[in-house]
Symmetry: C2
Subunit: 309 residues, 2 copies
């Protein structure tokens, strides 16, 4: 039986992973708002640094989830996690009894809202380690990396998760599964929590310049994430901070996703990445003055964008 | 005998206070780099909200302190305190045996460098509470306030300090003296340490918007300044934080001096206001993660200004 997939938020992430699943034989449809006309007519053009170029023609191209024909096995939610977007409402009309909801999104504690909206559905939480851009409507450049980690929320790995992981691997991208995806989110947060806001608040510095001049602050923020994760029952490896520092020194200077959003005037994932982290720390009585300062400053920065001409 | 004054750094602050001393009968000369030609030809035009308008013709207008003719009783140093400016070298050729050096400048711990350079001279430390702008070369608008506090560094009030204070009062501006000017600097720092960097890092928000949305961070930074001052032997009044918060709510929305410098591409007093505060805290083992974060971010912001096109 054909595996049916609906991708909600078919941008640089959703378009790319949707195209991979189509390659692996799934019937993939997309829900996209921006670029709808172009995608409807021409589908996607994928240009990947290591998987080559190909066209991806979605089975259905939709502006509203309610227009979806059929019962999807998976809905991949690949939008940004921002307060102005109600992800549950976005996909709700297309969610059927057997649909698993797959979140390929950034941030901490982004699953419970979806589990509340769909209490009887499988929630698969996913982390993407990828550099990709949408350079024009329907045109996606895959620049580097691409690895996925999937796990059921809050714990375990279901058959459906394993099957999805196999499809991704079949299409040529590494996809691992984990029994503890929440710990995985905290691991990723160790890097995201300092570098995303610092890149914006510094006025646009790439990661290497930040690290070379303010390593102590970066380490301080990482330590607060580490302490918070531990207090929540997700102890991270002892060397995770050193490893993240070393890895970042060895990366080419890199613009974070938050900086790219800021530079393009798009909403930033401040709440998903920083706000939820700060709230988790505060609820567990973990001191996080650096995270609180960065969070407050990001809120001021966002206020300023709307405040001044 | 005429009281002779040389003002080094005759901008919005130095030009204004120099003009007041001239009004009070002193022989006032100025050392100014920018605007030299205009000031040499026309002197200063002062336009004060409560003291009226007048012309101030300096006795000598100099580009180099070595050109000064005579023995000044006071040298008023009114430049910004920035690492690229050697204040001692700037005034050194004009400093004579009886000259008192008066610092009307922002920041913490800005006196010891001058005392080291001139170990046998009186160092008078001063705080100005004033809004004034130089709107064109030689044109100074005094917008609000103007109060001065003077005291010998590190403690006491000398006859020379009292006499200078009397001149200012004579000219119509309130000038107090204090036995403990260092405590006065820490008091002023309670306000400066949060609002100056936050106004820059927020992207240009006025004080009221910052306070209305991020009062907790502002209070957190103030508390760290309070704790540091206490550890250094300068206990501040218990209600100083509440008073500063309340006063700022009642001020008209205000652009800090650091924000004005940033907007005009001028060097900022990051080291004098934040760096020296952080170093004082660190030397005394006082936790100051918020101050450290703001200081690191300001350094990143300054790096960015020189880094990107």
């Amino acid at each position: 039986m054909t595996c049916k997939v609906l991708v909600a938020g078919a941008g640089a992430i959703g378009g790319f992973y949707g195209a991979l699943l189509a390659k692996a034989g799934c019937e993939v449809s997309v829900l996209c708002r921006s670029g709808f006309d172009t995608v409807k007519r021409h589908g996607f053009h994928i240009d990947s640094h290591d998987l080559g170029q190909w066209q991806f023609k979605p089975a259905q191209v939709l502006q509203h989830a309610g227009d979806y024909q059929g019962d999807p096995d998976y809905i991949l939610v690949c939008t940004k996690v921002i307060p102005s977007l109600d992800r549950a409402a976005l996909i709700q009309p297309a969610v059927k009894a057997k649909t698993a909801i797959v979140l390929i999104q950034n941030g901490i504690a982004i699953e419970s809202e979806m589990q509340s909206a769909f209490p009887w559905h499988e929630i698969i939480s996913g982390l993407a380690f990828i550099c990709s851009n949408q350079t024009a409507p329907g045109v996606i450049r895959h620049l580097a990396y691409g690895r996925l980690i999937l796990g059921n929320w809050p714990v375990s790995v279901s058959d459906k998760t394993l099957q999805l992981s196999q499809r991704f691997n079949q299409a040529g991208i590494e996809c691992l599964t984990t029994e503890n995806i929440v710990a995985g989110r905290w691991q990723k947060c160790v890097w995201n929590a300092p570098f995303n806001p610092l890149s914006v608040l510094s006025g646009g510095l790439p990661t290497l310049a930040i690290l070379q001049t303010q390593e102590a602050l970066v380490r301080g923020v990482m330590q607060e994430v580490f302490d918070t994760a531990k207090a929540l029952g997700y102890p991270l490896p002892d060397d995770i901070i050193d490893n993240n520092i070393e890895r970042t020194y060895n990366m080419p200077p890199y613009k974070t996703s938050m900086l790219l959003d800021f530079e393009h005037g798009r909403p930033m994932e401040t709440e998903a990445i920083l706000g939820n982290t700060v709230r988790a720390a505060e609820q567990h009585g973990i001191a996080c003055p650096r995270l609180q300062s960065l969070y407050a400053l990001m809120q001021l920065r966002e206020l300023q964008v709307n405040y001044l001409p």
